[in-house]
């Protein structure tokens, strides 16, 4: 009868000691940045549900998305930037016939169209590039955003050469090939725009008759 309370006290003492130790350790060592990154990814996966055309695979990051998340709001280290640009450049599928120029009028419609790929969008409906959300293009359109640079007179300033046409095609297809961790989506790489749609947007930028170059 007398030994039992002592054993209890000893056991309770050990529990308290363990709890105190855990508290001290908990306070002394905040989770590392890697721990938080891993937990954030796991919590995100558990916090979304698929809806319409937006499935949970949209939360699975490729190397570009993962690295650019890590350096968001900071300078991207040179080696990481080079790795991203190299891999994305290699992924570009160029038109087999070497023709980069489509119809600028279609290009204007694509640049205006904001629908596409949201879970609230009809998967069979139009998919645009919504260029005006971020860029100034045709001077007639006053409702343009400023996240990206002005593209007014894009072709006129750079020259209507095949080299610039190819650059414009590649930049729209996969902007990460030219500027690592740019805000611009990879319209060809990610299957947002078709080859012909990209050609049409190139024409909006590069056709001398396009209002962009007036």
């Amino acid at each position: 009868m007398q030994r039992l309370p002592i054993a209890r006290i000893a056991a309770a003492g050990a529990t308290v000691a363990a709890a105190v130790l855990a508290t001290i350790l908990g306070c002394a060592t905040a989770p590392s940045d890697d721990d938080i990154n891993a937990k954030a990814a796991a919590v995100l996966r558990a916090s979304f549900k698929e809806q319409g055309q937006a499935k949970l695979d949209r939360l699975a990051q490729d190397d570009t998305q993962k690295t650019c998340s890590q350096y968001s709001g900071k300078a991207v280290p040179k080696d990481a930037a080079e790795r991203i640009e190299k891999a994305n450049l290699a992924s570009i599928k160029w038109p087999a016939d070497g023709n980069y120029l489509g119809d600028w009028k279609n290009g204007e419609r694509i640049a205006q169209e904001g629908r596409g790929m949201q879970y609230s969008d009809d998967p069979k409906g139009p998919v645009g590039a919504n260029c005006y959300a971020c860029h100034r293009l045709s001077p007639q359109e006053l409702s343009f955003g400023t996240i990206g640079p002005s593209l007014y007179q894009f072709g006129k300033v750079r020259g209507y050469t095949d080299e610039v046409r190819k650059y414009a095609y590649g930049k729209i297809y996969n902007a990460e090939a030219y500027s690592a961790c740019t805000n611009m989506p990879r319209f060809g790489h990610s299957g947002i725009l078709s080859q012909q749609q990209i050609r049409d947007v190139v024409a909006l930028l590069m056709d001398p008759e396009s209002p962009v170059n007036k």
């Binding site: 306070c27 790929m117 879970y119 989506p185």
Partner: protein, 270 residues
């Protein structure tokens, strides 16, 4: 106060605005500022606030109880100023909670609703209003004028903040968008819509203290959970689950960044 049918007034105001915009973009931006100023004249959010205050006192659910004893962090029954200190860690739930997740908790524990019933209609639509948005309007209105004071004292509060910061910068989906894509730099716009820089104190304060808001274009009062949900829709992400851990962590990141500012909502936005 006259309440217009969805969109009737804004369409008129918008066409006036668009006509003015044709003159020059500088004028258009000025006109938008005037339109926003005109909106402040009468805010239909008051209707949601009144409905929420009434619902708050009603005995509801299997336990036939009101929410009057709900502890929003300042003790059971204290609503005044509570929202300005949320999200926070609640020891009874052992979890960091924002307002909506805490309301769900109170509906389950005090009123006896099932979790599924409590989260059934988080956002109102043309066919049916949301009681949740009415509660949110009422509770947040009781913090109007209070200074944002979100704590990071508890380890789980600190963890939620750090997780929210990571999620803010998380790029994904078909368009590689993160919250930071649109809200990481000063003085940017989408089309003519100004974008707050939520990584800076001034931007986070201005944005966070003006949600929830009555959205004229939708004819609905929208909660902060709705704001996050709709941002992710536009980011081309799947659907953010109502009161999910990610939604609470992001809210913690943004609310804490707004600390020190005077809360001024429910507001009214285009």
């Amino acid at each position: 106060m006259r309440i217009h049918r969805r969109g009737a007034l804004p369409v008129l105001a918008l066409s006036v605005m668009v006509a003015a915009a044709a003159l020059a973009q500088g004028n258009a931006v000025d006109e938008i500022a005037k339109y926003r100023a005109a909106l402040q004249d009468g805010n239909p959010a008051e209707l949601w606030e009144a409905r929420g205050a009434d619902l708050w006192k009603q005995k509801r659910g299997p336990k036939n109880a009101s929410l009057e004893q709900c502890d929003l962090g300042l003790g059971p029954g204290v609503v005044k100023g509570a929202y300005a200190q949320l999200p926070r860690y609640f020891s009874d739930a052992d979890r960091v909670m924002d307002l909506e997740s805490r309301l769900v908790w109170c509906m389950v524990t005090l009123q006896g609703f099932s979790q599924a019933d409590a989260v059934k209609r988080p956002f109102g639509g043309p066919d049916q209003k949301s009681d949740m948005e009415a509660y949110v309007a009422y509770v947040t209105s009781e913090s109007r004028g209070a200074r944002m004071n979100v704590s990071l004292d508890h380890p789980k509060e600190r963890e939620a903040y750090r997780l929210g910061e990571k999620m803010f910068h998380f790029r994904g989906g078909t368009h590689d968008f993160a919250c930071a894509t649109c809200h990481g730099e000063d003085a940017k716009r989408i089309r003519l819509q100004d974008l707050p820089n939520l990584t800076q104190t001034a931007g986070a304060q201005k944005a966070y203290t003006t949600w929830p808001a009555y959205r004229v274009s939708q004819g609905e009062l929208r909660s902060f959970q709705w704001r996050l949900n709709d941002c992710f829709r536009q980011q081309r992400f799947p659907e953010l689950i109502f009161t999910s851990d990610a939604s609470i962590a992001l809210t913690m990141f943004l609310a804490r960044n707004a600390n020190g500012a005077v809360f001024d909502a429910p507001a009214i936005k285009r």
